[in-house]
């Protein structure tokens, strides 16, 4: 005999808004809970780098990109911190879930591959932006910072955090062990972000090296973001916007297809 009032299954529209919002909140709460590690610790690193490089070089370098060295350095350091944290959020979330087995908690609910992509990437994006806002505000209290063009600040902050958040997802899908994740961080993310022109103007580099530096996607993130603050760019701003927007779009599509195929998630 059936119970009289069996609850009817939930009806979902074209988009499972509630599910998407829940997944996003889970990703945000995951880093917000340990904010000393995910927000304060990157801030300390940024301040340390700022202190070291200003003390080591600031007294000898007159002007870089038309401004003092500390002012040149700050946007690059903030951007580095944002993208490294966006990457760390999604990659660690996926790898830990896979290893601990609680990945089924996001695979079983009625979430489409597109909703999964958006929810996870949104979490990383939020962490990147949060780190960026916290770091900028604290540095602002110590140094005079001027914003030359809000559009470039906002666009590069969002596009770059989103890009690294999605690269983190890709790495998190691929990696089966923590070692592999550490290797991606050590040998791909750190070198690309260190050699991005955050610490020096790429105009200092000899011809061939400058061309190579301009192939680094991290260069465009930092160059455009810094233009938003200091009003001086080493490379082409339009190219930067197109590279970032194009890369975000392509990577989003790739992840959507990978999640739809169940790559490394559904055995």
């Amino acid at each position: 005999m059936l119970p009289a009032a069996l609850p009817a299954p939930r009806r979902l529209g074209a988009v499972n808004w509630l599910g998407l919002w829940t997944l996003y909140l889970k990703e945000v709460r995951r880093f917000a809970k340990v904010f000393t590690q995910t927000l304060v610790s990157p801030l300390v690193t940024t301040l340390l780098f700022l202190a070291i490089f200003t003390l080591a070089l600031g007294r000898s370098l007159q002007k870089v990109g038309g401004v003092g060295y500390a002012e040149f350095l700050t946007p690059g350091l903030v951007m580095m911190s944002m993208v490294q944290n966006a990457f760390a959020n999604t990659s660690s979330s996926l790898v830990i879930s896979k290893i601990q087995g609680n990945i089924v908690d996001i695979l079983m609910p009625p979430l489409s591959p597109l909703e999964l992509t958006l929810g996870l990437a949104g979490g990383g994006l939020t962490r990147g932006i949060a780190v960026g806002i916290v770091s900028t505000l604290v540095v602002w209290a110590l140094l005079p910072l001027h914003v030359h063009d809000w559009f470039y600040v906002a666009f590069h902050a969002v596009a770059a955090s989103l890009l690294l958040s999605m690269i983190g997802m890709l790495a998190g899908l691929w990696a089966d062990k923590f070692d592999q994740m550490a290797a991606v961080t050590n040998f791909v993310i750190t070198p690309l972000s260190f050699l991005s022109g955050a610490f020096y103007s790429t105009e200092r580099l000899p011809g061939l090296w400058r061309a190579i530096a301009h192939l680094n996607p991290f260069f465009y993130m930092i160059d455009g973001f810094r233009y938003g603050f200091i009003g001086h760019a080493d490379g082409s701003l339009l190219a930067g916007v197109l590279v970032l927007a194009g890369a975000d779009l392509l990577l989003g599509l790739l992840l959507w297809r990978l999640l739809a195929s169940g790559y490394k998630l559904r055995a």
Partner: protein, 267 residues
């Protein structure tokens, strides 16, 4: 009924040499197994630091403490690579064993507190020496790393490595969660190392900054190491050498007492 000669309990002399050697081997094994992330990763990061400084300072005559900037910075990076490895090796091993319950294998083994101390501190100091050597090799194309005074260099590498190894053991005993380890790295070890005058000479710094740096024992280790490599030091080498020896002895005594009492090891 006799158990036969083979089954009699093992007899120890004054020191359980086999036990010490086994624990030492176990503690250095992780470095061999995980050398990509624990040796090559940090060496690459230090190499990147060097490249950035070289490019950022190119064309100017940035110098520190009477040396070209790269030669000034290299000994600090070599020390940092070793010290960070010694600290992490000791801390991670103890914390991991405590969390996984494997610490019983060490606590139950017929090892005295002194033997345990020797094996843990010896293994972590070995890791420091290996990591320093790998980083020195990575930096050798860019900076002067061939020692002028090899004995001084070796002394400071050993004494400085032991200092951080003992701090690592202390931290590993104290920590109860991974958060504690992450916090120690971000808020203690990295600021403590980076603000040790590793990247800039202290002349010309504000008085307060000079006084703070002069309170940091790592400043004397790095300065002594720099004397060993380049023959130039900012302070006297002997006071630094004695200071670090004294700190090592105090820490050895503290950690010995803690191992003996079973602090945070035997509930």
């Amino acid at each position: 009924m006799s158990l036969g000669p083979d089954l009699a309990p093992r007899r120890f002399g004054r020191v359980n040499w086999i036990g010490v050697a086994a624990l030492y081997r176990r503690e250095t094994w992780r470095l061999q197994k995980d050398y990509v992330d624990s040796l090559l990763g940090p060496a690459l990061a230090n190499l990147l630091f060097m490249l950035i400084l070289t490019v950022a300072a190119a064309g100017t005559n940035v110098s520190a403490g009477g040396l070209p900037l790269v030669d000034f910075v290299a000994p600090g990076l070599i020390m940092f690579a070793g010290g960070e490895r010694a600290f992490s090796a000791a801390c991670v091993s103890l914390l991991f064993d405590k969390l996984e319950g494997m610490i019983a294998d060490v606590v139950m083994a017929p090892l005295t507190a002194g033997e345990r101390l020797a094996a843990y501190a010896g293994a972590a100091t070995t890791c420091a020496l290996v990591s320093s050597a790998v980083t020195a090799l990575a930096l050798s194309p860019f900076a002067h790393v061939l020692p002028r005074h090899p004995a001084v260099l070796l002394y400071f590498l050993l004494a400085g490595g032991l200092f951080l190894a003992l701090l690592g053991i202390l931290s590993g005993l104290w920590s109860r969660r991974w958060d504690h380890y992450a916090a120690l790295l971000a808020y203690f070890l990295i600021p403590f190392s980076y603000l040790s005058g590793m990247f800039y000479g202290i002349e010309g710094l504000p008085a307060l900054a000079r006084r703070l740096i002069a309170l940091n024992p790592l400043y004397y280790v790095i300065d002594g190491l720099r004397y060993g490599v380049t023959g130039v030091a900012e302070t006297g080498v002997w006071p630094g050498a004695l200071l670090i020896l004294g700190l090592d002895l105090v820490l050895l005594a503290v950690v010995y007492r803690l191992f003996r009492s079973g602090w945070r090891l035997k509930a």
